[in-house]
Amino acid sequence: MSIDMTSAPAALLPPQLMRTEALLTMSGLSKTYGSVRALRNVDVTVYPGEVMGIVGESGSGKSTLLRMMNLEDTPDQGDYRLQLPGKDDDNLFALDRYQRRMLCAHHIGIVYQNPHQGLLMRHSSSGNVAERLLIAGERSFDVLRSKARDALDASEFPLARMDARPAELSGGMQQRVQLAKAIALEPALLLLDEPTTGLDVSVQALVLDTLKRLQRDRRITMVLVSHDLGVIRTMADRVLVMRHGEVVERGLADQVFQDPQHPYTQQLVHAKL
């Protein structure tokens, strides 16, 4: 077969040559709280093994979108599908509360900006991780202890302190406990909501390095929300830029930062110190 590339037919130009199947597909998401439009017709696709960064100013809808991914909230309109082995490709927003809880326990992990949101401060660090495993149905004490230990170790948490309560730990250590809890069941999707905001710069670097290593070694797919463009630039493969509940730009991270196509993104990039 011969190909004349100067007049190549459309069939030779697949928009996606590799036909990679998406892990996460959200389409047509809209949400209104009272008179506030939090999300407007948002589409998101995340592919296996990548880090998708979401940037935007406060109130742009990025955290609302992340809560939807974690099934903590439902939109007024829109679909959410995850490609999981052995699971039907159903709209996850149509699941009942118990089904959602089980799906999240097994397949989705989340790290919140505020550790108080993700951790039980009066339980031990290992107990926090074990709680996640208990929800997923694990009952053997030895297995719970062993898996909690492995997850804390993978999150580079000092194991000598695994029985310390999060309230006794620094902010960086608390984030590691959250991370261990999130990855304990090797989730298909890890959601990170401003995971380094409020941490000292040196601690921030340590947490980002741990995340990068987890992504490299375990190929965990991540969605990272941050208002810190440096964090997104360091971590993300692709980026969504949100404003007023809409996605105004999406692209490869280096392209969005070096050649932004939307006036708001240009403003955002130029404003970075």
Binding site: I3, L13, Q16
Partner: protein
């Protein structure tokens, strides 16, 4: 008509790049109508004064910049794809598996050792930690990074030492298409020689290379063709169609 076997690895047709600067309400024209072919194992040098668009052309081929016109037909292992219009996910995959881009700057993540930064492409390609580290140390040595620095963090290195780490990382995993943006800018003579040896090996192995060089004399023996973006270029073998800047 050409068969897939005789097609060039890369065919650039009428490539045009303009930057739109919203805050100034103006357009900046970088280049227009660039066309050329590049075959496996060929080395193409981009020439031109500062600001002529050499680095912009490289970044457009890499898709850090979005072209406003033209095509970048690339013969990937899976088929022909227009890099100018390909989906982001495909570009990301090709960057991991087939294409490399070397700049003069290392994007060093904090608290990651030089040897781990260099080994990372091999780890992502599925090699074991031990194998990847062995290779990383070999290439750090080749480019003249002292052994006591291999486990140190490059963010504290001098510009020249950072560039050696950058090159070791960028060239550790052979790609099909390699883009080089002034890779010798801050290198000492020894490292420049090591780079030329590595490029010679890659070229002989069939890697197609497009480069901008601060010291083009270093790579004279490797160059097959040149494009001068500052003038109206004609290739040595008349294979280039035209470049209008």
């Amino acid at each position: 008509m050409q068969t897939p076997e005789t097609l060039p690895l890369l065919r650039v047709e009428g490539l045009t790049k303009t930057f739109r600067m919203f805050h100034l309400d103006s357009m900046l024209h970088a280049f227009e109508g660039i066309s050329f072919d590049l075959r496996a194992g060929e080395f193409l040098l981009l020439k031109g004064r500062n600001g002529a668009g050499k680095s912009t052309l490289l970044r457009t081929l890499w898709r850090s910049y979005l072209p406003v016109g033209g095509h970048i037909w690339y013969q990937s292992k899976l088929g022909t794809i227009d890099l100018a219009r390909a989906a982001d996910v495909d570009i990301a995959l090709l960057r991991r598996q087939e294409m490399g881009f070397v700049t003069q700057f290392l994007n060093a993540r904090p608290r990651v050792a030089a040897q781990d930064i260099v080994a990372e492409p091999l780890r992502l390609a599925g090699q074991s930690q031990a194998e990847a580290l062995d290779q990383a140390r070999h290439w750090l040595g080749e480019f003249g990074v002292r052994e006591e620095l291999w486990r140190a963090y490059p963010s504290t290195f001098s510009g020249g030492e950072q560039q050696k780490v950058n090159l070791a990382r960028a060239l550790i995993l052979p790609q099909r298409l390699l883009l080089l943006d002034e890779p010798t800018a801050s290198l000492d003579v020894g490292a420049r020689r090591a780079l030329v040896r590595r490029l010679d090996d890659l070229k002989a192995a069939g890697v197609a290379i497009i480069g901008v060089f601060h010291h083009p004399g270093d790579v004279t023996d490797l160059i097959d063709r040149e494009i001068d973006l500052a003038t109206h270029p004609v290739s040595a073998d008349n294979e280039l169609t035209h470049v209008a800047v």
